[in-house]
């Protein structure tokens, strides 16, 4: 593994968080190459050489036909296997907000091999876009490599979405939810009900733990300067930075450090 793992950060077609997402990956010690989705389609071999990939937040295709739907179609039909191979190769992939919606629409979360999708990200229960800060429980039992061994049991991040509510196929909610929990595929949950998400699910991972999709924005809390209050919090690192650091540690083969006692 290169000492500066290379992440492709997808942009274009209405994605709008590519700058801060690329910054976050570089701040964590990786390299970020921001690539327009059309350039990626023109030269998909980039995906082979890259060590990881990020689909940032935004409003791809204006959220028409359901958030993430058209970008997912574009990736499936224009990149297809070249994209899915990246996941099969267990390279780290993160989808934030709209990127999460894309990964779900692509069927990569939570079960890449399932014949049909069991869940979706639906419109918030309160029926609109909301920008607020949330507290998240970090699931220590999750297989997610991005959050494994975070030295915090709770983190704070902002959410900024209109369609972030996990909804399962009708009638199978409890069963499917329990299955996700049992397999450790739910790395983050909201400490309160913010959008009607089933089981307060805020993020999902796959069995490999290398794919992370989350509605909250880790790239928006890298420093205390962008914390929800200008005062009352002076940390060297924002909670979002911890997640990127964590994956970079994994890629560099470093031991994810022990959870501090208490």
């Amino acid at each position: 593994m290169a000492n500066k793992p290379l992440f492709i950060v997808v942009c274009g077609d209405g994605i709008n968080c590519e700058r801060e997402t690329a910054f976050a990956l570089e701040h964590a010690g990786g390299q970020a190459q921001t690539v327009h989705v059309n350039d990626l389609i023109a030269a998909p071999e980039m995906l082979k050489t890259a060590d990881g990939l990020a689909i940032p937040g935004g409003f791809s295709f204006g959220d028409e036909l359901g958030s993430g739907q058209i970008l997912a179609l574009k990736i499936r039909h224009k990149l297809g296997d070249k994209f899915f191979k990246m996941v099969e190769a267990k390279k780290p992939v993160i989808g934030i907000c709209n990127g999460f919606q894309v990964l779900v629409k692509l069927g990569l979360l939570p079960y890449p091999d399932a014949p049909e999708r069991i869940l979706a990200l639906a419109a918030n229960e309160q029926g609109g876009f909301i920008n607020r800060w949330v507290t998240l429980d970090v699931n220590a039992k999750s297989v997610c490599q991005w959050t494994k061994g975070l030295d915090k049991t709770q983190i704070e991040l902002p959410i900024r979405h209109g369609e972030g509510r996990i909804a399962f196929k009708k009638g199978e909610e409890q069963k499917e939810y329990q299955a996700l929990i049992d397999q450790g595929l739910v790395p983050l949950t909201y400490t309160e009900d913010v959008n009607g998400s089933y089981g307060r699910i805020a993020a999902l991972t796959d069995a490999s733990g290398m794919v992370l999709g989350l509605m909250p924005h880790p790239e928006a809390f890298m420093f205390s300067e962008t914390y929800r209050n200008t005062h009352a919090r002076d940390v060297a690192k924002g909670d979002g930075a911890l997640i990127f650091d964590n994956m970079l540690r994994v890629l560099k083969g470093e031991q994810s450090h022990e959870r501090r006692a208490g």
Partner: protein
């Protein structure tokens, strides 16, 4: 062409928005609509016969969990049958974003098709046909841009909706043609001509053109060019757009004879030059300011607050469109001001939006009062919701955080709402190729390239239309919907092209379309020629004049050196952006407009831009005239009650629309995308206390790590009827105080002035014109004086001059509504990171100080809007004292001896303290007494809290501060004998609307 099919998409998840609408139908319109269900409709016309259309449709529209996509034979099962079914579709030619996206999506699955989108609404309940129609018109559709059909459920079931699928066809009744329009007419006929063509030209202007065409040399040249003797419609329209009040700001440039309070008459040669530009030039010289990079010359003002990056800022208004189609009007407004930033210098990247709304109260009209409201503008609640949604989509879908704004409610905005939208942008001082990013340098021979969407009839006459007062017959073409995705793609592409050095100048296509953008840029080279026949069109049939003045959205005009044209257009194509080479810049001294190689118009640039005679106007202001109430004779009229006790008054004010928390609305805006928002709209222990300004950290934008910029706004329109001079100063002071309170350095202030005025030109139908212009003069004098006193330059501004409604009310009676003369001021200042403290109290035991004198006078206050008060003058302002205070305050903030700070504005001192309590969920005990002291809105005041340990340092830093009480741990407010529970204060403040 394959047969068109119809797809109906049902959501499997209940939609709260529909529940809300049903509730509103019952609440506002008294229609017994028990429930509402929506089904999205897509009509798909394959370009070539499709073999596997079902699978394409399934891939694009269906979702195993969320969406059921049904085609022929779609069935619905309801617990009980709906009473009515409504189908809402876009009118021909109106931007249909879902359809545009569906076409792209289908193409990805291999199906080329034309798509039209719409919605089916199933209405449940005991409503009748009239009720269904009311719901359809008021809630489901805007008939200016949408078509609505309503059927009973039985009728609906019999429709051949799957077998006979028709897409809306945009058919222009006329073929493209060029008319010659003779101006050799009597004045009455000229007036008629101006009205019929929505030229909004004065007789003086029409005569000016007529005389120009009578000139022998002009005629000789026209002969040579084989152009008709009379102006062509293309030429006439270019004059109308270029000379419109909206584009030319004739009133601010006019020669005004002003008679003031002293009875003396003075002549003012342009308000703009005399008060606005002069203030900035003098301040720049006196203070030796070197950080004003570009002011008044470009699409936006450019300032240097950082060694590594420059900031540009612009605020626009979009009032008339927002009155007719609140959503589309606000959306195109915010996207439009974003383009001003994209077109500033060689292009800047938008990093923040601001928005200020002036509406009639959302509770107006109450039940049974509808008939007293003006016919034409949407009801206040509809305008509020539509405009808010437009700003939400415009900002969120563009990835630009909305960091600051305000809602102001007053009945005088019932005729025309005011919608102010602003954008801050960032640009590197020097581009990768070494060019100065602030400087457009157009070269002879550069090609004229139009970038962005295709041209349609939408947005024709926006500029001239907004230069007229509103009436029932406003043209629907002036209304349109924006397309954030197309603009986002264009913005990304243009900034990429900028850094690659692919163009030499750029400007946006706003008001007046190509006629304005090319007309303005042509001045840089001294001429231009273009062929409108090359422009991409939404549909055939548009005449050259329509192509020339259409304000179809998401377009920029760019000057591209011939050697770069290929690379520029190739990159555009790769980014999914349309770029078209339509002409060239030259030094012919003329603007030559061809259509398919035929010359359709040729104008002298000098005549077009420099010949218009200065407007001559009369103005007077010697004393305030009583404020008229357009609703005085109706149930709508303002209702005031005798002043109650302190507790009742405070809780009433906290819950009033102008003061109560707008959190529900503001959190629908993404305020922290781009990860640089340092001070957010709401903060405090429960994140629901109000912030005074937005603060943007500049490091994420390439600036220094300890550097930030604060942006805030201020206005005091209720002072206009009392004293327009003070109104201007209160507006500036509030904007300044907001940014200073949030940590802004008062020695790095820059200001923007946005005037929204009722018609200030005296005429038979507008007898008060001279007084209104007098108010404008006094406002400009007040603005000039406070800018000079604060040493704060104006870097950009705009004015909108006909914010009146002249028409009928619901009873068919004549009704005139003029907006309150409104100056909205935006302030931006440099912030040292770490200086900002929140507005909420932090710890029990801290001392509460009032900075600035107590002040006196309740006139024009929020208190006076609800309760009877004797005062008719209002508070005074002390400019010198304020500036000293702000400087001392800023030093104290940096030294860390201030724990919280909140500006005193609507509602006065006690409301400010109540908001500080809400932010920190703490109590307070105050020594201040009396309604005047507690509720007056005197400017220049800030409430701060200081920990006992820092008190000595604070007293030294701010000797003029007055100790007014203490923060307490018991959850109540003790003031003037009253004991008010914190819970009651929080509840009232959070009530919202």
């Amino acid at each position: 062409m394959g047969a068109a099919v119809r797809v109906e998409v049902t959501s499997q998840i209940p939609d709260r928005r529909l529940e809300k609408w049903a509730g509103q139908a019952r609440e506002y319109f008294g229609v017994p609509l028990a429930a509402l269900e929506e089904v999205k409709v897509y009509k798909i016309a394959p370009v070539s016969p499709a073999n596997d259309l079902e699978s394409n449709v399934a891939k694009v529209f269906a979702d195993p969990v969320l969406y059921l996509a049904q085609m022929d034979g779609a069935t619905y099962t309801f617990p009980q049958n709906p009473a009515f079914v409504a189908e809402v579709t876009y009118r021909p030619g109106v931007t249909d974003n879902p359809a545009r996206s569906a076409e792209e999506a289908l193409a990805l699955t291999g199906l080329q098709a034309v798509v039209a989108s719409g919605s089916l609404y199933f209405m449940f309940g005991t409503l009748d046909a009239a009720g269904a129609k009311k719901v359809g018109r008021e809630l489901l559709a805007n008939e200016l841009i949408q078509k609505i059909d309503i059927w009973s459920y039985d009728e609906f079931l019999k429709l051949p909706r799957f077998t006979d699928v028709k897409l809306p066809k945009t058919m222009l009744t006329h073929a493209p043609k060029v008319e010659q329009v003779s101006l050799e007419l009597h004045d009455k006929e000229l007036e008629q001509l101006s009205r019929d063509r929505t030229l909004a030209m004065t007789m003086q202007e029409l005569h000016h053109i007529r005389d120009h065409y009578r000139d022998a040399d002009v005629q000789a040249l026209r002969k040579k060019q084989s152009l008709p003797q009379s102006p062509t419609d293309v030429e006439l329209e270019i004059f109308a757009q270029t000379w419109s009040e909206h584009c030319k700001h004739k009133i601010f440039a006019a020669k005004i004879d002003f008679t003031g309070a002293d009875g003396k008459t003075k002549t003012i040669d342009s308000l703009y030059k005399t008060y606005i530009k002069r203030a900035t030039k003098e301040i720049q010289a006196e203070r030796g300011i070197d950080w004003l990079i570009s002011v008044f010359s470009d699409n936006a003002g450019i300032v240097r607050f950082d060694e590594k990056i420059d900031l540009c800022i612009k605020v626009e208004t979009h009032n008339s469109p927002s009155a007719l189609d609140p959503y589309g009007g606000a959306l195109t407004g915010i996207l439009g001001v974003n383009r001003d930033i994209l077109g500033c210098g060689l292009g800047a990247r938008p990093i923040a939006n601001t928005d200020v709304f002036c509406f009639a109260p959302p509770s107006m009209p109450e039940k049974g009062e509808e008939q007293f409201m003006p016919v034409g503008p949407k009801p206040p609640r509809r305008i509020l919701e539509g405009v808010h949604k437009g700003v939400e989509d415009g900002g969120n879908k563009s990835g630009i955080p909305t960091v600051n704004g305000a809602f102001f409610f007053d009945r005088d905005y019932a005729g025309k709402p005011l919608v102010f939208v602003g954008t801050i942008g960032v640009m590197p001082p020097v581009l990768p190729d070494g060019r100065d990013s602030a400087e457009k340098k157009l070269n002879l021979g550069d090609r004229i390239v139009m970038v962005g969407g295709a041209i349609g009839a939408d947005g024709i006459h926006g500029a001239t239309f907004s230069s007229l007062e509103l009436d029932e017959n406003a043209p629907a073409t002036a209304v349109q919907i924006g397309d954030p995705l197309t603009q986002k793609r264009m913005a990304d592409f243009l900034l990429e092209a900028r850094d690659l050095g692919l163009f030499s100048a750029i400007t946006d296509n706003g008001a007046g379309g190509l006629s304005s953008s090319v007309g303005e840029m042509a001045q840089m080279s001294g001429g231009a020629t273009l062929d409108l026949g090359l422009c991409p069109v939404k549909y055939p049939g548009l005449s050259p004049w329509e192509l020339m003045v259409s304000e179809s959205q998401e377009r920029m005009t760019v000057a591209v050196p011939p050697a770069q044209v290929k690379a520029f257009i190739e990159l555009a194509t790769l980014r999914g952006v349309v770029a078209t080479n339509i002409g060239a810049f030259n030094d012919s001294g003329r603007l030559d407009v061809y259509y398919k190689d035929t010359l359709t118009g040729s104008l002298s640039l000098d005549f077009l831009h420099n010949s218009l005679p200065q407007m001559q106007l009369k103005a007077e202001w010697n004393a305030p005239k009583p404020r008229p109430d357009w609703s005085a004779t109706t149930e709508l009229k303002a209702k005031r009650i005798p002043a109650p006790d302190v507790k009742t008054a405070l809780l009433a004010l906290l819950a009033s629309p102008n003061i109560t928390s707008k959190e529900k609305w503001v959190r629908a805006y993404d305020h922290e995308v781009q990860a640089a928002t340092h001070v957010k709209p709401f903060a405090g222990s429960k994140a629901d206390g109000p912030s005074d300004a937005g603060v943007i950290w500049l490091q994420p934008h390439g600036g220094a790590s300890d550097n930030a910029a604060a942006v805030g706004c201020g206005m005091a329109p209720r002072m206009s009827p009392v004293d327009p001079y003070r109104m201007a100063q209160f507006a500036v002071d509030e904007a300044v105080r907001n940014v200073v309170t949030a940590g802004g350095d008062p020695d790095t202030l820059c200001l923007l002035d946005n005037f929204c005025w009722p018609d200030p030109v005296v005429s038979a139908k507008n007898p008060e014109g001279a007084y209104k212009l007098g108010q404008l003069v006094r406002t400009c004098e007040g603005l000039y004086d406070i800018c000079k006193a604060y040493g704060a330059p104006l870097v950009s501004g705009k004015d909108s001059m006909k914010n009146d409604f002249r028409g009928k009310d619901g009873r068919g009676q004549d009704i005139n509504i003029s907006c309150l003369p409104t100056l909205m001021v935006t302030a931006m200042a440099k912030v040292q990171m770490g200086a900002s403290v929140g507005s909420g109290f932090r710890d029990a035991g801290d001392h509460i100080y009032l900075l600035g004198a107590a002040g006196s006078g309740l006139a024009a206050s929020e208190y006076a809007a609800w309760f009877d008060v004797a005062d008719d003058n209002g508070p005074a302002i002390d400019l010198a004292k304020n500036l000293t205070l702000y400087r001392q305050f800023n030093a104290a903030l940096k030294s860390g001896c201030i724990k919280s700070a909140h500006d005193v504005s609507e509602g006065g001192l006690l409301v400010a303290v109540a908001e500080c309590m809400t932010g920190g969920r703490l109590g307070a005990a105050l020594t201040v007494k009396g309604a005047d002291a507690l509720f007056n809105e005197a400017p220049g005041r800030i409430v701060v809290s200081v920990s006992p340990g820092r008190r000595a340092a604070f007293d030294k830093a701010l000797p003029a501060a007055t100790l007014i009480g203490q923060v307490t741990g018991d959850d109540k407010l003790l003031v003037d004998g009253a004991n008010i529970a914190l819970a009651d204060i929080v509840a009232a403040w959070r009530k919202g609307f």
